[in-house]
Amino acid sequence: MIYINAFIICGIICAIGQIILENTNFTPGHLNTLLVIIGAVISFFGLYEILIDWGGAGATIPITNFGHLLFKGSYEGFQNGGFTGLIKGIFTLGQVGVTISIIMAFLVAVCTKPKH
């Protein structure tokens, strides 16, 4: 059952992205930025956890999850240690994707020759 939920939720997020892309002159960079902001706002209202419980990996794969992780990390930090905790905690959950992306991008760029 969770597979169907994952299909639906990931598909809907991708379809929303495509609709935005079709009807505006956004580039994919704009779109991803917008989706991260939307993810953070959904997480602000406490709804993203429900989406993850319902849709599993379907909700953690899209880029909206990055906004959710940033918000969740900073909010949990705020609850534990006030303003200091917020600054310390903002990257605790979201850093995984960024770290791996940087390492992989560097390795791939060093190891390949771009075609021209």
Binding site: C14, Q18, E22, I90, G97
Partner: protein
């Protein structure tokens, strides 16, 4: 020729892609990505015994690694031109933006090329994510 007439001719001759078809394709591809990742996540959780949160973390890592390597091999762009948002919206798009930016500027050297251009496309995602998350967390925490 006046500008308006020219615009009319351009509109008539520019190729119109079927919007509904694109949305449908990205829905299907995105859904398949979700199912595959859910299967991988369940496999890690049930068969190997990793915690659920860590399993979804490793799923994201797997996606990033695979899409970076595909970008390096050079056929990710062709797949994206077919799959549209089905591959842009998942984390694959983020990894692809970083890897392709790093590859494009490789000829300028390791520091000034790869180092300073890696976040050229993907930097806005991180920057605005942090700004929004910071202020929203501050607002929610204070309230």
């Amino acid at each position: 020729m006046k500008l308006e007439e020219y615009k009319k001719i351009v509109d008539k001759n520019s190729s119109k892609e079927d919007k509904f078809k694109n949305v449908f394709i990205s829905f299907i591809i995105g859904g398949i990505m979700g199912v595959l990742c859910q299967a991988f996540c369940t496999f890690l959780n049930k068969e190997i015994g990793i915690k659920l949160e860590d399993a979804s973390m490793y799923t994201t890592i797997m996606l990033i690694v695979v899409s970076s390597i595909f970008t390096g091999l050079g056929f990710f762009d062709k797949v994206v031109s077919f799959a549209k948002c089905g591959l842009i919206v998942p984390t694959t798009g983020f990894a692809h933006a970083m890897t392709s930016a790093a590859m494009d500027h490789k000829s300028e050297g390791i520091i000034k090329g790869i180092g300073s251009n890696m976040f050229k496309l993907a930097g806005s995602i991180i920057i605005y994510g942090i700004i929004i998350a910071f202020f929203l967390a501050l607002i929610k925490g204070v309230i």
